[in-house]
Subunit: 217 residues, 2 copies
Amino acid sequence: MYEIYETKERIIEDNDAVAARVRAKMKAAGVFFVNLMASPGAGKTTLLKRTIESLPELKIGVMEADVDSDVDAATLAETGAKVIQLHTGGLCHMDADMTLRGLERFGTEGLDLVFLENVGNLVCPAEFDVGADLNVMILSVPEGDDKPLKYPLMFTVSQAALISKMDVAPVFDFDLDRFRANIAPLNPDMAVIPLSSVTGEGFDAWLEYLKGRLSEA
Amino acid sequence: MYEIYETKERIIEDNDAVAARVRAKMKAAGVFFVNLMASPGAGKTTLLKRTIESLPELKIGVMEADVDSDVDAATLAETGAKVIQLHTGGLCHMDADMTLRGLERFGTEGLDLVFLENVGNLVCPAEFDVGADLNVMILSVPEGDDKPLKYPLMFTVSQAALISKMDVAPVFDFDLDRFRANIAPLNPDMAVIPLSSVTGEGFDAWLEYLKGRLSEA
């Protein structure tokens, strides 16, 4: 089971100041907070499902942010993870204030790791620091290797790019070297992890990366 | 060659009133205006390229709206169509005022048909009437047949849904009947046209649909 919570947007003066409060709150609680961003259909929910199932040693919570549905929360609740559905009331992103209120409503006691599945969109979510310890984006193979040229901010604010749906790479013209060349001027330190949530290819590298960041926190 | 024009957003009181001005202006000029919306990587530019090449009898113009790149304008300029690149300055959508100023800058004299390739996004572009005669959205097969549940407004304001990348349908679990069932409560009259801009499958149906709407205008 999971709750549906209408976050809506409040006019706030300083998103970054609220993001800093989120970060301090989560640090004090000993919870690692990951903001997951991607286009619609890139595979955020499927990735989260397999990630949760692959890490039974961790207590994981998921805040699902959507415009106004709860399809993904229902899917993730099946894993047994603690899940809340946030509704943005039409907005295309979460900001720090909405995130803070979502976390307060959710309750993070006893959790090791919380994922925010942001609204499906490569533009607006990149513009708002939500106070996460780690920003991860997913780009699916069918979307194409030129996306850093078109959505540069997303590839600048994220520390890792997961290239999803690698199982269908043979039928698409996605060139990992060309993708890396496109992100190099934006974010030379970006981790690039090709994987498939269906076959599990590359998933160990993602889990190792995530656990590495968690252990450094 | 094509120009790059920074549209930016002005604070305007009534988007719908400006949209009505766009519609009146285009009607007076005898130009049919199509607003094309989709997620990043759904295949908007590839579809436009094949559409332009398939309709040599029509004089077609394209206004490419992007956050701040001009990758797609360069691709479309190769077709010989009249092309302008609009930059939204970080915004995730075009509104009616930005569209009106874009059209004035572009110049539609002598054109039969103008496409606006909206910013890649299933949320914000749906919220702003840009004054088009026809709103068309593309959903690519890899994005999944559940998207109407998650982005209902986009499937409500568009008159047609083009299901792109049908050539890769065999490797994805996309069910056209399930998709139609998902849009039925939102938009029972929506035209659903499965196609592939690579193989040309279904393209005749799309061209017939487009020419039909054009002849009614």
